[in-house]
Symmetry: C2
Subunit: 203 residues, 2 copies
């Protein structure tokens, strides 16, 4: 409860703050509240109160609770938008759509955002808990539950292993030729494996 | 060249050192010399000289250059021993043997050795270069070259992505049920995917 900006702190220029200040205050409050309460229990209202801003700012700056959570864990997508987009279309090509989205987001992210994510989980147990929550209860849970397949939790963890591993290989360890491969090459190589984790037979 | 123990430093009790001192000096020297010169160019003789110990100590404590390299990068296997063992047997079950070896080594490693590896690569660019070297030129290079398959470098990088991703999911992010699954369950789930990266059609 110490690092967030709260209602008792003096505000510059009356109660106005810049957008950057508001976003930073919301991200700091989100990291505290999500870590303490978990994704499901944490409310937008509680995070906004902790940050000392209007709850409407969460929608304004992050598109809602899922988007704020993703930004807090250094993942530049909003699952509330992305999951429905991924599910629209042939389910046998879901892995391809997922990989293309992942590659587009992370290739375009400035300044090594995936490396920042890995650094945060390597050095901070709270960040580990948040990433676990993101994979299990925010991103893959909704995606895989919608597929109505067996062993959804195992599939989510397996997808997490391949996606995180691809990010490690491409953006952190930079294993060639995977690090420089174009998206079509990565999709051809990794897509069938990821698709098996999503919808294939696991045993 | 500053952190290693070298020949000009005074030795305790004449020229004798404990085994722990010798191992620590060799690991420190290995991290310097492998980082500066790469795996292939670095010699056991140069590393031993840098550490101020007899080159025979590398065989004695680490089973040779590959074992010293692995220990220096926090990977508790000696590829010079493991690769021939993995290659002996049905090539369609290579992924299963590789996974069982990986799980046995890392499940048994004390004190979160995989997490230590991730922490080192997340925070230290030299450690990144060493892990890349390990995957590309020490571990998978020899394993995959022996299989005589197409696109060996891409296969090595893909195997690296799945193995590192499995380690991240099981030991760092601890995604359930994968984190607690027994080895048979992991082999059934991940084995076919890893086998495709080793010997299957990639496009």
């Amino acid at each position: 409860m110490s690092s967030g900006t709260n209602g008792t702190e003096p505000k510059r220029r009356g109660r106005r703050r810049s957008g950057a200040d508001t976003k930073a205050a919301l991200l700091a409050a989100a990291r505290e509240v999500f870590t303490e309460q978990g994704y499901d229990a944490a409310t937008v209202r509680a995070i906004a109160a902790q940050a000392g801003v209007d709850p409407a700012m969460v929608n304004h700056w992050f598109g809602g609770k899922a988007g704020l959570f993703s930004a807090a864990v250094h993942i530049p997508v909003n699952p509330a938008e992305v999951v429905p987009q991924l599910l629209a279309g042939d389910r046998e090509q879901l892995a391809e759509r997922l990989l293309r989205r992942f590659l587009t987001v992370w290739d375009n992210a400035e300044g090594g955002q995936f490396a920042a994510l890995v650094r945060s989980i390597a050095t901070n147990e709270n960040a580990v808990a948040m990433l676990r929550e993101f994979i299990q209860n925010v991103m893959f849970e909704k995606l895989i539950k919608a597929l109505d397949v067996d062993q959804p939790d195992l599939r989510g963890a397996l997808c997490g292993s391949q996606i995180v591993g691809l990010g490690m290989a491409r953006y952190v360890v930079r294993l060639e030729p995977l690090a420089s491969a174009d998206h079509d090459t990565v999709v051809a190589a990794v897509g069938p494996n990821l698709q098996r984790y999503l919808t294939g037979a696991l045993d």
